[in-house]
């Protein structure tokens, strides 16, 4: 049976601004909201929108992403004609390249489109947190007889330069599209959700492969289509949508879910891979006698004996008696030993914080600002063991897999990076 539409998910990128969180995984595989990974949102959206053949373009350290995606069964992508394909770079007869950009990644996998020969292709980023029914977008695309429809969301003027922005006319047609312009003409930001007519996409990709420089859909293909008067339309989405380009925006997006205006997550029906190794078979969250938990999100398998305030607690996390976790994100199977305190800390998976250690301690000194991307959050890489009693200031970066011997001082000043 021929499919009307197939999905392509852009999931390969890493961003330096997420610091040690992307040391071992692409951004799309970074945990968010306790038990999810970024890519779960786009895949759940596709599942709920009835898109059941999806290619995931993955390139940067794909092991954890591939393990998470498995065969796509968690998102119902298994069946006679349903599929989830992980599209990795490969050596071709002539092309022997890593993906040079998003357009190039799709171009190198045109075989996926040939195989399904769909009428439409939806291309979406795997890095965003949102719940969107793609069906009205697809309907509008067909009704307008568009060649390309871009999902857009109004953003505050001052933040518009961070995005690709569009100006649309009354009919919804995009008349201007600029990528991260210093002073953009519009305030409608692109959500990196595109519906293309498949034949148009194929033509444009061939053209871009021959003439491109950045090989990006957003900086080359879309501006060119608009400039050439192609039928590019905007679809306005006004729901919750977050990205995580920096540690601060990552943190803010996480904290949204425990804010009073949090989205109704239960209605989103986000799916994740519950059978993967890290989630395993978690027992329900255990709140022990004497524990105190407020304003927090707590995942299955967590065990809390201490105090937790305004924090995100991932599956299997253990918080011992007397430990205090505030304003922090603690990922899977990390352990906070008795008497340790965390404030504004982001802990990757499998971190151990020794008894009495203090992370994100506010010692009054201003953190040394390395760049404007630097944050006052203290972030700890996967599997690092923090010694007992140590005091680690705000804005520190601790690399993955550090052992106690890597910590030579009893106190680490704000803004310090500790590596192996």
């Amino acid at each position: 049976m021929k499919k009307q539409i197939v999905g392509m998910v852009l999931a390969g990128g890493r961003v330096d601004e997420l610091s040690v969180l992307t040391a071992k995984r692409p951004k799309s595989a970074v945990p968010v909201w306790g038990m999810y990974r970024f890519i779960d949102f786009v895949l759940s959206n596709m599942m709920h929108s009835g898109i059941d053949a999806v290619g995931v373009l993955s390139q940067y350290r794909p092991y954890s992403l591939n393990a998470h995606l498995a065969n796509g069964a968690p998102w119902d992508f298994v069946g006679r004609t349903r599929e989830l394909r992980i599209l990795s770079p490969f050596r071709g007869a002539e092309d022997t390249d890593w993906y040079r950009g998003t357009a190039d990644a799709v171009y190198q996998n045109l075989i996926f489109l040939d195989h399904h020969s769909p009428e439409l292709v939806i291309i979406a980023s795997g890095d965003h947190v949102y719940s969107m029914d793609y069906r009205p977008l697809i309907r509008q695309h067909l009704d307008c007889k568009a060649e390309l429809t871009i999902a857009l969301k109004q953003v505050p003027r001052e933040r518009a330069p961070l995005f690709g922005t569009a100006v649309v006319d009354r009919s919804g047609r995009v008349v201007t599209y600029e990528e991260k312009a210093a002073k953009p003409a519009g305030d409608l930001a692109s959500l990196t959700v595109y519906v293309f007519n498949a034949d148009v996409l194929v033509d444009r990709l061939h053209e871009n492969a021959a003439e491109g420089r950045t090989y990006q859909i957003y900086s080359e293909i879309i501006p060119r289509m608009v400039a050439e008067g192609a039928r590019v339309h905007g679809y306005i989405f006004d729901g919750y949508w977050r990205y995580a380009r920096t540690l601060d925006t990552y943190y803010a997006a996480n904290m949204d879910i425990i804010s009073p205006s949090a989205p109704e997550l239960a209605t989103w029906q986000v799916r994740t891979n519950l059978t993967s190794g890290t989630l395993g078979d978690p027992a329900p969250a255990l709140f022990l006698a004497g524990s105190d938990t407020r304003d927090s999100l707590v995942c299955p398998g967590a065990s809390i004996a201490g105090t937790v305030e305004a924090s995100i607690i991932s599956p299997g996390v253990i918080i011992e008696a007397g430990a205090v976790v505030r304003n922090s994100i603690v990922m899977h199977h990390s352990r906070i030993c008795s008497g340790a305190t965390l404030d504004r800390a982001v802990l990757d998976k499998g971190v151990v914080v020794g008894s009495g250690a203090r992370l994100g301690a506010d010692d009054g000194s201003a953190p040394r600002r390395r760049s404007k991307a630097t944050s006052d959050l203290t972030v700890v890489g996967k599997g690092t063991h923090i010694p007992e009693g140590i005091v680690i200031g705000r804005g520190c970066i601790l690399h993955p897999d550090l052992a106690e011997r890597h910590f030579t001082a009893a106190k680490i000043a704000a803004g310090t990076t500790v590596g192996p």
Binding site: M35, L274, T275, P282, A283, P284, A285, L286, L297, C299
Partner: protein, 424 residues
Amino acid sequence: MRPARDTLVMLLAGGSGTRLNILSSRRAKPAVPFGGSYRIIDFTLSNIMHAGLERVGLLTQYKPFSLMDHVKGGEPWDLIGRERGIKVLPPHTGEKESDWYKGTADAVWQNLWFMEDYKPDKVLILSGDHIYRMDYEAMIATHERRGADLTIASMEVPWEDTYRFGVMSCGDEGWITGFQEKERNASSNLASMGIYVFRYATLVEELRAVVGGRQGYDFGHDVIPRMLRKRKLLSYPFRGYWRDVGTIKSYVDANLDCLDPTSGLDLRSWHVCTNPDQAGRGDRPPVRVGSHAVVTNSLVAEGCVIDGHVENCVLFPGVKIGAGAHLVGSLVMHDCVVGHDCRLVNTVADKEVVVGDGAQVGEGDPTVANKPFPTHLDTGITVLGKQAAVPRGLVIGTNCLVYPGANLRSVAGTRVPDGSTITR
């Protein structure tokens, strides 16, 4: 080679669990929810998985639908593959007989054809009714090493409980010399756990003689007593946490044991597995604990939203607890909604119960037993059946039973007295 390879499991999951009353009125006892995320049968299935057993026949009879939904293809317990599998064996009509299973032995006998397909060396017979963690692999290995025809797992029980069990007397080295099934004057307090490892040839011969000869249909009553003296029957002692959870009281107690690993029931170290897709578990978000919530000594499954005070409770997936509500010693199952300023004490709420704002449930005089079911509810527990709706402000006493879907709006007055049963 692990002994599990040549052992076939026959898992009896047909029990109706009558004494669990309305909790098992629409599902078999093995399918009754337990411990926040589980059903009772998960404990046995997880034991099977951890022992490396690969072939299982699941014998169903009483209201098997939730059970079959739950077990699905067996993937959650690694029972799927070239050699691994779980087959549901419902009662069926034979050439002559067209019968429901008349007893445990009859159920196995009627599925001889299934066992013959595998021609196993040994058969492990289990029931899906109990909460425990046991190493069947070690039991099978002992059975082999000692050259037994039948090995029965056994544990010491309080003398006053012996009448509920088959009890055995043992000679030296654990060989069984006597067996009494559910008798008032037991001569021993070593109880059979209903876990049997049979040599396959022995099993078939004995079933053919007893069940085939229409002399009896039950292992404990009929098959085992006949085997004494002419077969080698070995007792395999088990010392650990094991509960039958056959009564509402024991069911509640065992659930609350999950809160305290020193009780012997430790969900984490037991590594209990379940089917995560059941009840849409896969779509539920993590637990949300609100600003004024207090959650202490409680187990809380995914999808719960807590704004009230929860103490010594087990909350199953998707439960909402309103601000100012106070829950103590209660089990609240999937998707229940407890309104603002409610009190729930020693209460079991089955799935999708709605408790209106300000309602109070479960407090009163525990010596007033339930009227139609004095033996089911006489310890101070109130049970709200599936989808029961408790109107705002209503007070329901203790030892009360509210039937599934009952509408309490017709209740006269604002108080349901202790020991009441409301059926509609």
